[in-house]
Symmetry: C2
Subunit: 322 residues, 2 copies
């Protein structure tokens, strides 16, 4: 299915990856790529970055081993470079994870573009900038794609993939295919939205939390416990939409929206609610069925099994390291 | 420690509870109280509610059995009543879970107040109304307390406890003590905030999600997967604040706020960010230490162990019911 951007190897032909930027996220990617059997050439302008990078990879390795290493996986596959050209030599993919400063990203992407093999795709870990603005100074913007991971990238499966206005559809498809092949859970977006999907959602929650602390309405500890002992016990299995689908009881999301729709106007957050039009209502109701068409009663059983297993697991963890 | 409101039994002397309202939440409470060894008198104005109530309790029972029943636990301890006076006879606590309609709540609370033993505490499952407005017509507002559970109340530990302006401090303390004794994780708030804590947070996220669907920026399935495969894998262990504490790397929340503070101004959600004042910054940074003073590196190890165990558990669930 994947059309290969001109001159680039197929996603399954990648053997070496450059991690450009070796902070927490870049190092996490490096650990993951090594565990998946790639040679990793890490670049960071600061020579001190190497020690921290190796420390993080060592710390991540037991977890990666437990999840299952690729047969070619080895920490020996890592090399560290302060010279960008050297770090790009012989790689078939680049994952950029520089600090989240737009100008810095723009400069680095232009340098990567000039130095990397013209055909290869370059992914960026940016957590919110659009590729359109980041690739402003690149000669070949068509090969630049956002591949936004979640911390730690070596354990959280999600990668959000989206191109900029000048990115080619082939490059977006190539990146999505590559990330999937290495075991990531990919969401490909068809348009640029600041913060993508997961960050928008988690930022809304984070800002509401900051408001509560700011107004003395809740402490940091209360905020965290309200999630870990509350909705956080459902979210690893069923996202926020399915959660409300189940809150509607046997009538599901349709019952929930028709019944509790008016409470959207309640002052429950500082975030204004959208108008609950007929169209929005139907989109949400239909979306739940598209996502999981099983009856709500069956989803409830699954949720219950999940929460029990999760609570047991957490109790086990609290008794001591496994 | 607990001072008993005048005439009421101590929290450990409760043997029978009235569940006023037997919908999804009321029935979930009934199942939980039965599993904890109480006699439960369920009231609902609709005679049809009984069959659904018993169905829900039966469905919840295997989960409750697996988590461990009280030695006196029995489904035989349930009786169903359409007469409110009858349902209140001989109980030492009332959990009200009527539909979320303010006027209906006001009327029911006044009726409960008139019919229940004057000394006993009455808790409400409301998910957002303040007790001040709900107990408007009650003769003894001092005994009315919000005890807000999360669905399903028989599995999710969180209960948010808060009084109204006329609620006595003793009643708030009594309710918190009672819920804790029966195994709940209680957050006692010292002021009324619409939606309490957890709902405010989850509503912010839910509204952002609705905006995204409304604007065609994401599908329902993408929204859910962005959580279940992303931040949802951290939230059962570490809430949103500790999550960002770890995002700051070894420097923790202080590094995170000092570094990424300006990105609060990014258009990452429709929710305006509060001004990141020095005071707010310090409150958040100190709050993390109050919550968990261990070094970030240790918290990271715990997070990694948790995510691995969780991912394994979810894989096991997907292979088939346990």
């Amino acid at each position: 299915m994947t059309r290969t951007p001109e001159g680039s190897p197929a996603p399954d032909e990648v053997t070496a990856v450059c991690c450009a930027g070796a902070g927490t996220i870049g190092a996490g990617w490096a650990a993951y790529f090594l565990a998946r059997g790639f040679r990793v050439k890490a670049w960071d302008p600061s020579p001190e970055a190497e020690a921290k990078l190796r420390r993080l990879i060592d710390a991540a390795w037991p977890a990666l081993t437990e999840l299952g290493l690729h047969e070619d996986a080895s920490r020996e596959g890592l090399s560290f470079h302060t010279d960008l050209r050297e770090a790009l030599e012989g790689v078939q993919f680049v994952q950029e994870s520089a600090p989240e400063v737009l100008q810095l990203k723009q400069q680095l992407l232009a340098r990567l573009d000039a130095a990397a093999d013209p055909g290869i795709v370059i992914g960026s870990s940016t957590s919110g900038y659009s590729m359109t603005e980041m690739a402003l100074n690149a000669e070949r913007p068509e090969r630049f794609v956002v591949g936004h991971p979640f911390n730690p990238p070596y354990l959280i499966p999600l990668v959000e993939v989206v191109g900029g206005e000048r990115t080619s559809a082939e490059a977006v498809q190539w990146a999505a295919d590559f990330y999937e092949r290495i075991g990531k859970s990919v969401i490909t977006m068809d348009r640029e939205v600041p913060g993508f999907i997961a960050n928008r959602l988690q930022e809304a929650l984070w800002r509401e939390a900051l408001h509560m602390v700011d107004n003395g309405e809740a402490t940091v500890e209360q905020i965290d416990r309200s999630i870990t002992e509350g909705p956080g016990l459902r979210w690893p299995f069923q996202g926020p939409m399915l959660t409300f689908h189940l809150a509607g009881g046997e009538g599901g999301m349709a019952h929930m929206l028709d019944h509790f729709g008016p409470s959207l106007k309640s002052p429950w957050t500082r975030l204004d609610a959208p108008e609950l039009t007929e169209r929005l209502r139907d989109d949400v109701v239909d979306g739940c069925t598209v996502e999981d068409a099983r009856p709500v009663t069956e989803l409830m059983q699954e949720r219950d099994r999940g929460i029990i297993a999760l609570r047991r697991m957490i109790e086990g963890m609290r008794r001591g390291p496994s």
